[in-house]
Symmetry: C2
Subunit: 317 residues, 2 copies
DNA sequence: TTGTAGGCGTTATCAA
DNA sequence: TTGATAACGCCTACAA
């Protein structure tokens, strides 16, 4: 008990015993067992982050931001990479509970409402990028629809008439919201939306490459393509260059995300910047506030996107 | 106790009570507390991974690989991002011990030998990319020297006579090993190594940009540059293009790492591929084997690099 | 087949 | 200022 008091700087201890104990601690290289402490305190200072793909710069940059803030607040991150699979999303959420995580940041685009609500009942949660109609759940979302409108108006402003859309997986709401932005903007400007101009990808670079071939083997050939994320946009560019299609002279391409790579490729990619650092920061801060039961908590945050114009888009020749 | 037996499928239980208990478990939504179990079992099934930068694709791809294997083996990853700072490397290593991590994968290029040995005494460890003279420590290293020789011989084979070297931070052994490869290869081919042709960067893209200006403001101007990592190589390319220096016609550039971006930039980057997926895989497997006390453990693994020729290098014009 | 006692390494509480 | 006791939720060992 005396040792405990000294380690935690609690209660009053005589200088003499403090010295003796500290000496022994050094000598024995004693380290307190935080797990045992957690058991008593009912607080582990673990925070679990569940996300689809840590190798995707979008998420790894988000995690880095969150991790830094967590560390400063004496929390440590448990990492769960789900590969976008529902079962693993659930597996890690369970693990967060079983292992007494104090809280969870859930980026689980495929999880069903019911499961999310269940988890929220068991453990303090911040839900990211997966809108749900439920006032009790803290959530951070991105205005995908408006972001897509931004992208489309940029292309339309450049006089493009045939604009293709490369969607992400259609079982994810973010993807559908962006598609809605595409369709509605076309309608707004009285431009026919033909099905041929929409292709479903799976967020991967390869699916961008594959999509290019489909776009260019059917009529009408687009003069601009709006890709639902940067990785697919890069795939489009890659394949276009292989086929000697010049960007932006022959084809304009706009992405979505603004991963750090976007500025580095050639030509630098015009894209819709998602505030991913901010997402990581806000998510972890929101969660920590929740854990410390601060009262003034905003529970539902919608972040804005920003159009970043680089060189992959231009007027049609 | 009966519940424990049922949850863990141990001992014999009558069908009747098993049913009743399982029912109650569902009803109460009971979840066993793994932390409490860890305390008794002296096994947490946590594995801590400490690394310099999770936002760097090199590490995030490594982690992804490790994470996947960990999950299949019922381990869960504790993540520590050190930003390359010594204090944080230590902080997280301590945390791994305090929190009863079963093991630690340490990518801590700046940590001193003594600290590493101390940690190894306290917790099963696999040390990555930080060679140390100590037979008791399991380590996975990359043959930086030979990798650098590979790069240099490629450039020399293209008839370059003035080859610049852009090193990483000189307080990291991997960086010095690559520099040694540069210097010794020059010697081997009787090419003078002048100090002016060596510049120290800090691994960042920006330091590549800055280095370009220094290389091109002093004599002799190099016809080829070997950059100690891809990020700096990309910085060189970026700045070269801004200055209307053509790659590879006017200047050849070779990198080191083969991050996924390397293939995507324009021109695609010639580089030395480090087997980072393999590193993640081997590191976690080595550690898990260690934890399960398999006997046939190789303790010191040296991985080979591979020259990937793309379009950023060529014969001098 | 089930249940009881004891202990894992801490901390809160109360007594000395 | 210090120390004894009980408790956190689980598992091992043994008893019923």
């Amino acid at each position: 008990m005396t040792v405990s008091r000294i380690v935690n700087n609690k209660g009053s201890i005589s200088e003499e015993t403090r010295k003796k104990v500290l000496e022994s601690i050094k000598e024995l290289d004693y380290k307190p067992n935080i797990l045992a402490r957690s058991l008593v305190m009912k607080e582990s200072r673990f925070i679990t982050i569940v996300l689809p793909d840590i190798a995707n710069p979008f998420f790894s940059e988000m995690v880095k931001e969150a991790e830094d803030i967590a560390r400063r607040n004496k929390y440590i991150i448990l990492l769960g990479d789900t590969e976008g699979r529902k079962e693993i999303e659930k597996e890690y959420s369970e693990a967060a509970i079983n292992r007494m995580s104090d809280g969870i940041i859930l980026v689980a685009p495929r999880m069903d409402d019911e499961s999310i609500i269940k988890i929220n009942d068991k453990i303090p949660m911040v839900l990211v990028d997966r809108p749900i109609e439920c006032k009790d759940i803290a959530q951070i979302n991105i205005d995908n629809f408006t972001g897509a409108v931004l992208a489309m108006e940029h292309l339309i402003g450049l006089d493009h008439k045939q604009i293709g859309f490369l969607s992400g997986s259609r079982d994810i709401s973010a993807s559908l919201e962006r598609e809605e932005g595409y369709v509605k903007t076309l309608k707004k400007y009285d431009m026919t939306s033909r099905n041929k101009l929409i292709i479903e990808g799976d967020w991967s670079l390869k699916s961008g490459r594959d999509a290019f071939d489909i776009f260019f083997s059917s009529q009408p050939v687009p003069t601009a393509i709006f890709a639902s994320n940067d990785l697919m946009a890069l795939g489009l560019i890659q394949r276009a260059q292989e086929m000697n299609i010049k960007i932006p002279e022959d084809l304009s391409i706009i992405g979505f995300d603004d991963i750090s790579m976007a500025a580095l490729v050639n030509p630098p990619l015009t894209t819709i910047r998602q505030p991913r650092l901010k997402m990581g920061k806000i998510a972890i801060e929101l969660l920590i506030n929740k854990l410390q039961k601060k009262s003034d908590i905003k529970n539902n945050i919608l972040l804005k996107n920003e159009l970043i114009i680089r060189n992959s888009t231009g007027k049609i020749a």
